[in-house]
C-alpha cells in the first residue's frame, strides 16, 4: 500500500506568526489580559467604596502612582482596541436584512460607533469632566 499521507503539524505555540491576520487576532485576544485585570481593579474599588470615605480617598490616591498610570494607560489602549475590533466584527456576526437588501456592513459598524460615542459623552458629562 503506497498511500502515506503527510501530516503537516500546526505549531501550537507560534502559529500566529504565519499570517498578519492571525497576529491582529492575537493582539485583540491579548487585550483581554488588561481588561480582566482592570475588572479586578473595579472590584477592589467597590470594596474601598463600601469601606467608607477614607478608604475611597486612599484608593483614588493609590491610582496616581506611576505604576498605576502606566497600567491605566495600557488598559485604555486595550479597551479602545477591543471596542473597535468588536464593532467591526458585529457586522459579520449579525447581518441585518431589511426587505431584500442587507444593510451594508459599514452602516452597522457606523451605528455602533455613533452609539458608543454618545454613551461615552453622556457618561463624561454626568461625571463632570465637561
Amino acid at each position: 500500500m503506497s498511500r502515506n499521507p503527510l501530516i503537516r503539524e500546526v505549531p501550537p505555540t507560534s502559529w500566529y506568526f504565519r499570517h498578519p491576520l492571525y497576529l491582529r487576532y492575537m493582539s485583540r485576544e491579548i487585550t483581554s489580559i488588561f481588561i480582566g485585570a482592570y475588572c479586578v481593579l473595579l472590584v477592589v474599588g467597590l470594596q474601598r467604596l463600601a469601606a467608607g470615605p477614607a478608604a475611597w480617598e486612599g484608593f483614588v490616591t493609590a491610582l496616581q502612582s506611576p505604576a498605576s498610570i502606566v497600567f491605566q494607560f495600557l488598559c485604555l489602549v486595550a479597551a479602545f482596541y477591543h471596542a473597535a475590533t468588536w464593532f467591526n466584527a458585529t457586522q459579520k456576526a449579525m447581518p441585518l436584512q431589511i426587505g431584500e437588501d442587507f444593510v451594508p456592513g459599514n452602516v452597522i459598524s457606523g451605528a455602533h460607533y455613533a452609539a458608543w460615542a454618545v454613551l461615552s459623552v453622556v457618561v463624561l458629562f454626568f461625571t463632570g469632566v465637561f
Binding site: S2, R3, N4, P5, L6, I7, R8, V10, P12, W15, Y16, R18, H19, L21, Y22, Y25, E29, A89, K92, A93, M94, P95, Q97, G99, E100, D101, F102
Partner: protein, 227 residues
C-alpha cells in the same frame, strides 16, 4: 500579449519515495494575464509531468484547485500572476493531510459537511403536484449568500482554530447549516442545532475572521451569532 518568466517554488511530496516534503523550483514563460494554475499547467505539460494537483473549471466555481499561494489559501485558477512579483511559492492547503504534491485529502471536510444535515427537512411535506413552496425574494435573500459556498476548503485552511482544534466543525459546515436554517421551506433547525451546538460545533469559533477573508469571492462563512 505580454510575456514574463515566472518562478514557481512548489511543494513536492511523493509517498512512494519521499519521507518528507521538499520544494522544487520551476521557471516557466507565462503570459502576463495568466493565473497561477495556467503556469502549473504549463509546467506539467512541458517540464514535469510528475507534478500533481487538482483542477477543472478554470472559472472559480468547481472548488478543485485550492492551494496555498505565498502562504495564503487561494483558488489557483483565480490567482493572477499580475498580482505577484518574484518567486511564487505554491503549497497544498494547510490543515489537511497531503496525499501527494498539491493534492490533499478532504475526508474530514466531507464528513463534516454531511454531519450538519445539509438538506431541506420540510416544515410540512407537500406533493410535487401542488407546485412550488412560495418564497418571496426577501426570504430568498435571507439564505442565498450562504448557499454560494463552493466547498473549496480555503476557509478551513485559513481558520487557525481548525488547525489547532481539528474536531472543530469549521466555517463551511456552519455556513451550510445556517443556510438551511434560514430557508423558509425548512423546519430542521432543531435537528441541526444538536450538531452545530456540540463541543465540536459553533462554540469553538473564536472569530478570527480569516475564513471570510479567504472566501471573499464566493460565499461568506460567518462566525456564529446568537440566532
Amino acid at each position: 500579449m505580454k510575456e514574463r518568466l515566472v518562478q514557481l517554488e512548489v511543494l513536492r511530496y511523493n509517498p512512494d519515495t519521499d519521507t518528507e516534503a521538499r520544494f522544487q523550483r520551476y521557471e516557466v514563460t507565462c503570459a502576463e494575464e495568466w493565473v497561477v494554475l495556467d503556469a502549473l499547467n504549463k509546467v506539467k505539460a512541458d517540464i514535469d509531468p510528475t507534478l500533481n494537483y487538482r483542477w477543472s473549471c478554470h472559472m472559480a466555481v468547481c472548488g478543485s484547485c485550492g492551494m496555498m499561494i505565498n502562504g495564503e489559501p487561494k483558488l489557483s485558477c483565480h490567482t493572477f500572476l499580475r498580482d505577484y512579483e518574484g518567486v511564487i511559492r505554491v503549497e497544498p492547503l494547510v490543515h489537511f493531510p497531503v496525499e501527494r504534491d498539491l493534492v490533499t485529502a478532504p475526508d474530514d471536510f466531507m464528513e463534516k459537511l454531511k454531519r450538519v444535515k445539509p438538506y431541506i427537512i420540510p416544515k410540512e411535506k407537500k406533493p410535487i403536484s401542488e407546485g412550488e413552496y412560495k418564497q418571496t425574494p426577501a426570504q430568498l435573500m435571507k439564505f442565498r449568500q450562504y448557499s454560494m459556498c463552493i466547498n473549496c476548503m480555503l476557509c478551513y485552511a485559513a481558520c487557525p482554530e481548525y488547525g489547532l482544534t481539528p474536531h472543530f466543525i469549521g466555517p463551511a459546515a456552519l455556513t451550510l447549516a445556517h443556510r438551511y436554517n434560514q430557508d423558509s421551506r425548512d423546519g430542521g433547525r432543531k435537528e441541526r442545532q444538536e450538531v452545530v451546538a456540540t463541543h465540536e460545533g459553533v462554540w469553538e469559533c473564536t472569530f478570527v475572521g480569516a475564513c471570510s477573508e479567504s472566501a471573499r469571492r464566493t460565499s461568506t462563512p460567518r462566525a456564529p451569532c446568537s440566532r
